[in-house]
């Protein structure tokens, strides 16, 4: 189930990049205000209390990460070079894929 960094001959997919998913985790961890004291009334900036502004910015961060992931980390070459999953209807040994 592990995904190692793809080589130049393998298709690239967003799931192959651990840093991307760490980034998502950090955005969500910052966006949900679990680390703040409940009930606190923050100063208001442009109509948003500060904690909500941080949350909104974390959403922007998630959007940016996703756009980068689909446009930069997902290769078109994958269509031609995809390593197949095992097909229960395939009776040809020797096509056993690497451990994933």
């Amino acid at each position: 189930m592990k995904h190692s960094k793809p080589t130049s001959s393998q298709p690239r997919e967003p799931i192959d990049y651990p840093l991307l998913w760490i980034g998502y985790g950090l955005c969500l961890a910052v966006g949900i205000p679990w680390y703040r004291s409940a009930g606190t009334l923050d100063p208001v900036i442009a109509g948003f209390p500060v904690w909500a502004l941080v949350s909104a910015l974390s959403s922007v961060g998630i959007a940016v990460l996703t756009a980068v992931a689909v446009l930069r980390l997902w290769s078109d070459e994958a269509e031609a070079e995809a390593e197949p999953l095992p097909d229960p209807q395939d009776d040809h040994p020797g096509q056993e894929p690497e451990d994933g």
Binding site: P14, A38, I62, A67
Partner: protein, 488 residues
């Protein structure tokens, strides 16, 4: 929505829209290449960029969601920022399995999610169980759209059209163009209503901001009236926030009609670009709905839970009185809401039809049926299902109302099969099936007993158990596929 002061002009708009749908249906019929499941349900895998991104957008955002989300923002305040995270999480979820699934869809000629499960795992019980879960979730989803559709039509007609007749007429139009043109018609109507919705909400937000006062003037008043809606949320709300992101993000990413749009993309490049567009849409649409709900808090104080769901209608009423521009903006927006409801319902209905014929009827009742026969049966299924759902939607007292609440809780249990099935090469179908059974049992059991373990939704708890069982059994059991057996 029923008592907005709209005149005949709104009816004309609605009538023109309905006629245009029939036209799209006929066009879709003329464009069909063959009488096959791939052509009817996936438009021959030919959806280009503009149509794909707009149909993905329209599929994700329903009119009912928009009304409900505004009400939720009104009730809980700034914490409803969780809705933006949740809608984004759906797109993030696609990144896990969509790249590989899109390639496999062409290689294995996949029509439904059940097709993938059978080809990948070789398990008929798994395919049947997953298909039944997805059909249930989509029927539930369609029912919710139908219930709101009637009231939206009544509102547009200024009370002249009864909600039941509104639902019946729109449902007939919907099934008609879907039967005529399949996915082509559905995708093109999605594209039109997606544009309507996008611009309509942009206009509404502009008018609400300029005429009703924007968020900077609303927030100090909210602090006075309901400070808890502005203050840092409680720990239980934070848990609910995380649970919502997981439930909607993972559950929503495995909507069968969204998966079939992944299948229907013209190419991987088309799909990628569509998803790039989808990644920023929650900031615009869900963000706009959140802002409207917040602005409404000081304008309409003291609404109870039931009336707060109609707060968007109150905003529309006030925007209408700002002048001719406001009036026509509301008319266009209401038409867009009706269109959004229909596009959500028709996408779900088409998907239900495909799963019934491809995953249940075809393989187990008529193994020798031709593609033309299956396509014809699929169209009949659409008519039967919509008639049944319209009847259920018309019931005055829906005693099964609690069953409507558990759409995502059931649907999310299919996620491990897709997420892990596309990424874990040696995962066995028996492990996946066991996990799904355990997950469903726990999710439904907790939901029936109204228990939220540690504050998480029952479906999320079920997903955790589902994933744990799948991973443990997958690690420690040998694959039973013919390929693995040949290698032992």
């Amino acid at each position: 929505m029923d008592d907005l002061p709209l005149g005949p002009g709104a009816m004309i708009i609605l009538g023109l829209y309905a006629l245009s749908l029939i036209g799209v249906g006929l066009w879709g019929r003329l464009r069909r290449a063959e009488e096959s499941l791939e052509d009817h349900y996936l438009a021959g895998r030919s959806l280009g960029l503009s149509v794909l991104l707009l149909t993905l957008f329209a599929t994700q955002y329903s009119g009912n969601t928009l009304f409900g989300f505004t009400g939720k923002a009104y009730r809980i305040g700034f914490a409803w920022l969780m809705s933006v995270h949740a809608m984004m999480a759906m797109v993030v979820g696609y990144l896990v399995f969509a790249p590989r699934l899109q390639r496999l869809a062409r290689k294995w000629s996949l029509i439904t999610p059940g097709d993938f499960l059978l080809r990948r795992f070789g398990s008929h019980p798994l395919r049947i169980l997953a298909t039944l879960c997805m059909i249930y979730a989509l029927a539930n989803y369609t029912l919710a759209q139908l219930k709101v559709m009637g009231h939206a039509v009544t509102g547009l007609s200024g009370g002249r059209i009864d909600p039941l007749w509104g639902v019946v007429v729109l449902a007939v139009i919907m099934v008609l163009y879907e039967t005529l043109g399949g996915m082509r018609s559905v995708a093109w109507t999605d594209a039109v209503q997606g544009l309507l919705l996008f611009f309509g909400f942009g206009l509404l937000l502009y008018l609400a901001w300029t005429n009703l006062g924007g968020l900077p003037s609303a927030t100090p008043k909210i602090v006075e009236q309901a400070p808890d809606k502005v203050a840092v949320p409680s720990s239980s709300m934070c848990v609910y926030w995380l649970s919502m992101v997981v439930l909607v993000g993972i559950g929503g990413s495995v909507y069968p009609q969204a998966i079939q749009r992944i299948y229907a993309a013209k190419s991987g490049r088309t799909l990628r670009r569509s998803l790039a567009f989808m990644s920023v849409m929650p900031l615009v649409t869900t963000g706009a709905v959140l802002l409207l709900g917040l602005i409404a808090i000081p304008l309409y104080p003291g609404l109870d839970a039931t009336r707060s769901d109609q707060v968007l209608a109150l905003v529309l009423r006030d925007v209408m009185t700002t002048g001719a521009f406001g009036y026509w903006t509301v008319v266009v927006l209401l038409a867009a809401v009706v269109a959004a409801l229909m596009s959500t319902a028709d996408s779900a209905l088409l998907s239900i039809s495909s799963m019934v014929v491809r995953d249940l009827y075809g393989p187990y009742l008529r193994k020798d049926a031709s593609e033309a026969h299956l396509t014809s049966v699929g169209k009949i299924v659409s008519w039967v299902v919509i008639a049944l759902l319209v009847w259920i939607a018309s019931l005055e007292k829906l005693t099964l109302v609690r069953l409507l609440e558990i759409k995502f809780e059931v649907l999310i249990q299919v996620a491990p099969a897709l997420y892990l099935g596309t990424t874990w090469k040696k995962l066995d179908g028996r492990a996946v099936l066991s996990g799904m059974v355990v997950g469903l049992t726990i999710a439904l059991g907790l939901w029936a007993l109204e228990i939220k373990p540690l504050g998480f939704h029952p479906g999320v708890a079920g997903l955790a158990a589902n994933t744990l069982v799948t991973v443990l059994l997958g690690r420690f059991s040998a694959p039973s596929t013919p390929l693995a057996a040949a290698q032992r």
